[in-house]
């Protein structure tokens, strides 16, 4: 049983919890189908009529794409199949391609491309780490609620977890419940890389000028000093500061420095976009933010970002600028909000989304078998469906291939 919603793709004996998320996703899907059934397109729930309408729309959309001067492929692409199709589509249409939420993953990518990274995968961290430094705030617990359990594998652990940043007691409780010796250290998130450097120096005997020893820092420094393998965990989504890539770079420099004498590694947590990033990299050599207008992939992490494309493109008439929006996710409640784009007036948008009226798209890993990367980018797992796909709901890759014909 593998959950496809938060990119953790964890697989635990604790099925109740996993099934809960996944079942909720399936229920959300059934709700949306019910909504579509009651919608204006087809009150008689006639699959054949729906398919016919879809085919007509496909012809119209293909024609629109043919006459377009600028095309952007964007959205939330969670599966290998859709990522492959999206890149092939972008190539054949000389389009720009970038995931709508890639701003998060590129905080890490830009830092890595400047200086590299020492990283660790999930199971390795779980089995080998004796000190976890979890950096972020409570938003992390909302986005990745199962992270503590994934790192403990449901077993009592002797490892120490330091929650650094702005975590509340509920978060600490979750980590504690997962079996970790949990310490909360409130601090300014932006200053964490510098603080870490200082704390480890202090723990190793540097004079602790200005440190209030009566505040109980002694045991904390003892933990830092004893650490043989430290893992630093963060989720780029919780880094809301300006120039977050520079923050990540400073943190990675500190991690690299620790390895001169000890072992230390980073476990940056990626969203579902990680799958697209991997596939796009192996097909084109670049992790996204590429433009095919000249026939070959042109990579520019700034110029070809989704945001830049939306801002730069002039408010032209709808036949000239077309956005193909893909969202093959659907999750309960606030867990993963439906993707909306703020397209300027006059843009044409072709929506391939789970809630799309015209091109209802299958939910990856919920309605279809899909290959998806776990958040640490190491394991590419086969995710099995948990509810039946209606005949008029198609994988996004299917629509893309048909639009290309």
């Amino acid at each position: 049983m593998i959950c496809s919603i938060c990119s953790l793709l964890c697989d635990s004996d604790n099925l109740d919890e996993i099934q809960c998320i996944k079942r909720s996703a399936a229920l959300a899907r059934l709700d949306s189908i019910r909504g579509a059934v009651e919608g204006p397109l087809d009150t008689n729930v006639n699959s054949a009529a729906r398919l016919k309408a879809t085919n007509e729309r496909l012809v119209e959309s293909a024609s629109l794409l043919k006459s377009a001067k600028r095309i952007l492929i964007t959205g939330r692409i969670a599966s290998v199949a859709t990522a492959r199709s999206a890149v092939a589509f972008a190539k054949s249409h000389n389009a720009t391609i970038d995931c709508a939420e890639s701003g998060h993953v590129f905080k890490n990518i830009l830092a890595i491309q400047r200086g590299g990274i020492y990283s660790v995968s999930l199971a390795e961290a779980r089995e080998h780490t004796d000190l976890f430094l979890v950096i972020g705030n409570d938003s992390m617990q909302v986005a990745i609620p199962r992270m503590p359990l994934a790192l403990s594998n449901g077993k009592p652990r002797s490892q120490t977890v330091l929650l650094l940043g702005d975590f509340g007691t509920a978060a600490a409780e979750q980590w504690h419940k997962a079996g970790f010796d949990t310490w909360t250290v409130p601090c300014d998130l932006e200053n964490v890389p510098n603080a870490l450097a200082k704390w480890f120096q202090w723990s190793e005997g540097m004079p602790r000028d200005g440190v209030d020893e009566s505040s109980g820092v002694g045991p904390l420094f003892a933990r830092l000093r004893q650490a043989m393998y430290t893992t630093v965990v963060w989720s780029a989504e919780s880094l809301q500061m300006e120039q977050a890539d520079l923050w990540v770079e400073r943190l990675l420099q500190w991690v690299a420095g620790r390895n001169e004498k000890n072992r230390c590694a980073a476990l940056p947590w990626l969203s579902l976009d990680g799958t697209f990033q991997q596939v796009c990299t192996w097909l084109t050599g670049f992790p996204g933010r590429i433009d095919f207008r000249n026939g070959v992939p042109d990579y520019d992490p700034h110029k070809y970002s989704y945001q830049q494309w939306m801002e730069r493109t002039p408010d032209a008439n709808c036949n000239e600028s077309v956005i193909v929006l893909i969202d093959e996710t659907l999750a309960p409640g606030d867990f993963l909000k439906p993707l909306e784009i703020q397209a300027a007036e006059g843009y044409s948008v072709i929506k391939l989304t789970a809630r799309s009226e015209h091109f209802p798209t299958a939910v990856a890993g919920v309605e279809t078998i899909d290959d998806m990367f776990r958040a640490d980018q190491t394991v590419l797992a086969r995710v099995l469906p948990s509810c039946e796909r209606r005949s008029w709901v198609r994988p996004a890759s299917d629509y893309l291939e048909r639009l290309s014909k």
């Binding site: 964890c10 020492y118 390795e124 990033q277 026939g295 042109d298």
Partner: protein, 564 residues
């Protein structure tokens, strides 16, 4: 005619192609001018009675050979992709500009990057006449990714070697002295579950030892945590590989990669397997002495002598080519040791899933630098000293020693003494003084090159229907015009057929073709599944179903599975 063909073949629509007037060369039969018939997907020595060729090619002054096979090239999986991610700044903008301007690229065009995307990789291999390539280091947790990536590499049949020998489960078992039969079952199950065709070990135990902050581990040193030695690991795995009947011997990246004096560890590695079959990979990086003006010298003669005297040994070279590249290896211990040599100055290191790791370092080989020049000469020495071209293979360990696109250049170096000396003369003066290379006058013949790049790798991998032009072999056939400059000749084939279909002609790619994944033909005890599920859950924390690659994932309208 259609009916005749139907009767002859048992099925219709088999295309028959006749190649005549060319020298057929495969290292098995005599190299001579004769007709070669491509009958559907296979080779036929003569046209069956009543059949007529659908296509007939007159090929005077041409050589027909089997499709080349690269048995050690990093073309898929996590480390390759993170190298791409790390290095957008190494993309060749001149080349990209040419493409943008619509200018035609030819065999002299560099790769767009040391680690290009899959589309470019498949294209560039085919236009040199390669039809099958093998990824030599597939991490179990990463196997589906590697297969997915290789599936997207057009025109090439692919396969992979499973990385074992740093998996914590195995290290624990060796420490605990479990029966060899248990290890054999485990190895067999792992290779089948991850759809690989051979077993690779990288710095046995050393990758895991580095996770415990151990910075050095030679063949008889003990792993700081488990207490096992690389010798024990190599011996155990080589027994498993031979007991299970793998076509390919244990594929070994030795201890002490790149270190002066590492020839001792290499010899100890050979001894560790106690006479069983062994393939030493990128051997050039593992035969260094400590002599010479900089305490770093060639020990190629020692390794070559050993290979020449022991038919159970084979090697591939990992020849260095001068210029910018990126080194990527599971050997985190030694990649880390070289971290300050990275150019540009950045690197990625990963500790992965209690199974292995990887290190990615961009690197520039300079011909005026003593050690780099020495590495180049050592590779050449090995090529020239190992006598049997069926046991020494042409590789650059792409991209570690240099790009695979340098193979034609490398062939010229082997076939042309004067050209070799021209390049040699540009090296660091201390290399010129100390290297025995000028005394090695051997020039490879065309037939030896064909053996080294086709028949040899096919045999080493147990691919009985590849590498030769015999009846029943796959009709993966390459036609080169016979010209004086072998670099030019091997860079631009006249035609390439895959499975009897003409896919490339005179620089034009005509059609895509069927691809296959080569997988070891192993019988695995059915009770292993349940057993491994329990072990996996306990050791790694997730179900084997999460990582197991099913055969149907390797099949599609254009993909098949081939067993070896």
């Amino acid at each position: 005619m259609g009916e005749t063909r139907l009767r002859l073949l048992g099925k219709a629509f088999e295309v028959i192609t006749r190649l005549h007037g060319a020298i057929c060369m495969d290292g098995v039969g005599k190299s001579e001018v004769r007709d070669l018939i491509l009958f559907g997907e296979t080779i036929c020595s003569e046209l069956p009675p009543g059949a007529k060729a659908d296509a007939d090619y007159r090929l005077d002054n041409h050589v027909v050979v089997a499709g080349a096979i690269d048995l050690h090239t990093h073309i898929g999986g996590g480390k390759v992709n993170i190298a791409r991610l790390l290095l957008p700044d190494l993309v060749n903008h001149r080349r990209s500009a040419l493409e943008r301007e619509g200018q035609e690229l030819n065999w002299m065009s560099p790769l767009s990057s040391p680690v290009p995307g899959t589309w470019e990789t498949g294209r560039r291999y085919l236009e040199m006449g390669y039809t099958a390539c093998f990824e030599p280091a597939i991490l179990p947790a990463n196997a589906r990714h590697a297969h997915a990536e290789m599936a997207d590499t057009p025109w090439l049949d692919t396969g992979g070697y499973l990385l074992l020998g740093n998996d914590r489960l195995l290290l624990e078992w060796i420490r605990d002295g479990v029966p060899q039969s248990q290890v054999n079952d485990y190895v067999g199950w792992m290779v089948r579950a991850h759809q690989c065709c051979a077993v690779k070990v990288v710095n046995a135990g050393g990758i895991d030892a580095f996770k415990f902050n151990q910075r050095h581990l030679s063949v008889d040193d003990a792993h700081v945590h488990f207490g096992v030695t690389p010798r024990q690991i190599l011996n155990t795995l080589s027994q498993a590989v031979d007991s299970l009947g793998f076509a390919h011997p244990l594929h070994v990246h030795c201890s002490n990669l790149g270190m002066a004096g590492n020839i001792a560890a290499t010899m100890a590695t050979i001894d560790a397997v106690e006479g069983r079959r062994l393939h030493l990979t990128h051997a050039q990086y593992h035969c260094y002495g400590t002599d010479g003006p900089h305490g770093y010298s060639s020990a190629a003669n020692q390794l070559a002598d050993r290979v020449n005297s022991d038919p159970s040994l084979s090697i591939d070279i990992g020849q260095v080519q001068f210029g910018q590249t990126v080194t990527l290896s599971g050997d985190t211990m030694h990649q880390f040791a070289n971290r300050n040599l990275a150019r540009p100055r950045k690197a990625i290191f990963q500790d992965l899933e209690c199974q292995a790791g990887c290190g990615v370092l961009p690197f520039r080989y300079r011909q005026d630098q003593y050690v780099h020049g020495l590495l180049w000469t050592i590779g050449m020495e090995l090529f020239l000293r190992v006598e049997d071209p069926l046991r020494v293979f042409l590789t650059t360990d792409h991209p570690n020693g240099g790009p695979f696109t340098s193979y034609p250049h490398l062939i010229r170096l082997l076939m042309d003494f004067d050209y070799r000396m021209t390049i040699f003369s540009r090296l660091h003066p201390d290399v010129l003084k100390s290297s025995p290379l000028p005394s090695l006058k051997r020039e490879y013949s065309l037939e030896e090159i064909v053996k080294m790049t086709r028949l040899g790798p096919a045999r080493a991998l147990g691919l009985k229907n590849r590498g030769a032009l015999q009846d029943g072999c796959l009709a993966d056939v390459v036609i080169y015009e016979r010209i004086a400059n072998p670099e030019q000749m091997f860079s631009s084939p006249k035609m390439v057929f895959r499975r009897g279909t003409l896919v490339y002609r005179d620089g034009v790619f005509l059609s895509n073709s069927m691809k296959s994944t080569v997988v070891a033909d192993l019988r695995v005890e059915s009770q292993m599944d349940e057993w491994m599920k329990r072990i996996w859950r306990d050791q790694y924390g997730y179900s084997t179903e999460m990582i197991r690659v099913h055969t149907d994932e390797l099949l599609s309208d254009s993909r098949s599975v081939e067993y070896t």
